[in-house]
């Protein structure tokens, strides 16, 4: 019963954008949640696993390309295309993980970066398959169970449902023995090994699961934009999601959501009021490091605790 109230409040909060008069903000909210799923997936790797990846956009991008390409170019149905997209992208994560986990730290960062860039180069050059830098378009959103997703509000409901699934499942994973083991391997790999944990296997599993959820975000991304081009596989994309995770609070559950909100809102909403929004974004990041080095969410809850303690005193 104690858990039900915050859960209900969270659901109400998630559904609140549906009440907004302008459809534009509903669309922004959908973008925030899609970015949040993407950030949640990377958070598993970076926050809980301590493995900094600069190539996570590979999974989002591949899944998005497959979703749109299979439907528009190969005549697949929507559901088979989505399943293929997630499946193949996850399989790719399984292969990439084998390569990337041969190194740690900077080496890991560089391999993920390199793999991401290789995919980007492929998307750019393999014009017959990917449309090159012109990309693929002409994609219509699916209608799962007969409900059309063309209207922003219907689409937003769909995204909320997927986000809620992702959040709950990843939260359960984080709180499970697997999650504890992953954090242990992040902090004290040698000790964990001495205790009998297979450190490589845990990291590998985290890598593949992160790839899976990145792919899910990719399918949603394809549905939202109805267009795909190599930009999504670029270094900027991977760097952006990494920044979301760190700024929001790596290793926390709400951090990725906060980080996603900050970046998406600054890019799409603040830029209407502030021409130099890129500089503003940089300043926000520096400010977070200075005032809340663990991230927005841990920093804010620290402030709240301090105020409560001061109030109680």
């Amino acid at each position: 019963m104690r858990r039900a109230l915050p859960a209900a409040a969270a659901i109400a909060l998630l559904l609140s954008p549906l009440l907004l008069p302008s459809e534009f903000y509903v669309n922004i909210a959908a973008q925030v949640l899609i970015a949040a799923i993407f950030a949640l997936s990377l958070n598993l790797l970076v926050g809980y696993g301590g493995l900094i990846s600069l190539g996570h956009a590979a999974y989002l991008g591949t899944a998005a390309y497959l979703t749109i390409g299979l439907v528009t170019r190969a005549g697949f149905g929507q559901l088979p295309a989505a399943l293929c997209a997630v499946g193949l992208a996850t399989a790719m994560a399984a292969v990439f993980g084998l390569l990337a986990l041969r190194a740690t730290g900077l080496g890991f960062l560089m391999i993920t970066l390199a793999l991401g860039q290789i995919l980007w180069g492929l998307a750019y050059r393999w014009v017959a398959l990917t449309g090159g830098d012109n990309g693929l378009s002409g994609f219509t959103r699916p209608a799962p169970l007969g409900l059309a997703l063309t209207s922003p509000r219907a689409f937003y409901l769909f995204v909320v449902a997927v986000f809620a699934c992702a959040f709950v499942l990843l939260a359960l994973l984080a709180r499970s023995p697997f999650g504890a083991g992953l954090r242990g391997v992040r902090d004290q790999p040698r000790r964990m090994q001495a205790l009998g944990w297979n450190t490589w296997l845990i990291r590998y599993a985290a890598f593949v699961i992160a790839g899976f959820w990145g792919a899910v975000a990719g399918v949603l991304f394809a549905y939202y934009n109805q267009f795909i081009s190599p930009h999504v596989l670029g270094l900027t994309s991977s760097a952006e999601v990494l920044l979301m995770v760190i700024a929001g609070g790596a290793g926390t559950l709400l951090g990725p959501l906060a980080g996603a909100a900050v970046v998406v809102l600054l890019k799409n909403v603040a830029s209407a009021y502030v021409t130099r929004w890129v500089m503003l974004l940089g300043i926000v990041f520096v400010a977070i490091v200075v005032f809340m080095p663990e991230g927005l969410v841990p920093g804010l809850s620290r402030l709240r605790r301090r105020r409560r303690a001061a109030g109680a005193a």
Partner: protein, 285 residues
């Protein structure tokens, strides 16, 4: 025959440029374990500063010195104020260095406008030399020479001076160095300034070849990262060899395998790291 000769020289020239770009990066990461993702922005800002100095009527070498000095100052201030408290905290370092890179990049757009601008070459180095029936730009040969000179000077600094010994001690074993009384914080700031100066200088020296434009920072950063990982962090010979290796690989790779031009650097890198995670040219642990 001419093809191989000219492309070899191109490879050397590109390698020299990469060494100027990445030597500072390697030094900073090697000693302080700070992934200074602002490095590309330092390179670009150095080029812009050099451009302004040149437009004000001063000579090329003055501009080089000005670029180095300006970025050294900026780097020192940022290290002291922001990065010092973040030792060991990689995630915060990534966030803050990228944040600073965004700020520098956007501010540069404001100050210098977004028009791409070439840096004029020093008059003594313009023109081409005739080599075996072909031509090769004099300036690029000079870049090779300058990068080798910088490498030698850095080597002398590291191997033959007390400061250099302290730096090497720090790279090898930070705890021990501290226990021996080495003033680690001041050393860090000094190294960071040096690394930033190298980046700024590299920007001005690269300017006549690359020009300066918004986006130069993000075009150069991955290259610096590649050299770092191939050469091994903190290893000067590694950075030198890594730079020239990349220069040759890139030049010959895209000439002989044009279809792979986009991935020519990354495919071997994945192979290299998968085989030797500590770096191709790193010293044995």
């Amino acid at each position: 025959m001419r093809f191989w000769l000219v492309q070899s020289l191109n490879g050397l020239a590109l390698g020299g440029l990469l060494f100027l770009l990445s030597s500072g990066f390697s030094l900073i990461f090697g000693l302080m374990r700070v992934a200074n993702l602002t490095h590309g922005a330092y390179f670009m800002l150095g080029a812009y500063v050099g451009l302004s100095v040149l437009n004000a009527g001063y000579g090329f070498w003055v501009a080089v010195a000005a670029g180095a000095a300006a970025i050294a100052l900026l780097g020192g201030v940022l290290e002291r104020v922001l990065l010092r408290k973040l030792s060991g905290r990689t995630l915060s370092q990534v966030l803050v260095t990228l944040g600073i890179a965004f700020i520098i990049s956007d501010a540069s757009l404001l100050v210098w406008s977004g028009d791409p601008m070439p840096l004029p070459m020093p008059p003594s180095l313009t023109g081409a030399v005739a080599i075996f029936g072909g031509y090769f730009p004099r300036y690029r040969l000079a870049v090779v020479g300058i990068s080798l000179l910088v490498a030698v000077l850095l080597w002398l600094l590291l191997e033959r001076t007390r400061v250099g010994a302290m730096i090497r001690a720090g790279v090898d074993d930070m705890e021990m160095a501290r226990a021996l009384g080495i003033p680690v914080p001041r050393l860090f700031t000094a190294v960071f300034c040096l690394g930033a100066a190298l980046a700024g200088m590299g920007g001005v020296l690269g300017g006549p070849i690359l020009s300066v434009y918004p986006g130069l920072d993000m075009d150069m950063l991955p290259l610096a990262l590649i050299v770092l990982i191939l050469g091994g962090a903190g290893s000067l010979p590694g950075a030198l060899l890594g730079s020239f290796f990349i220069g040759f690989l890139y030049t010959f790779g895209q000439a002989l395998l044009p279809d792979l031009a986009y991935v020519i650097l990354f495919l071997p890198m994945v192979a290299a790291i998968a085989l030797r995670p500590k770096g191709l040219f790193a010293r044995a642990a």
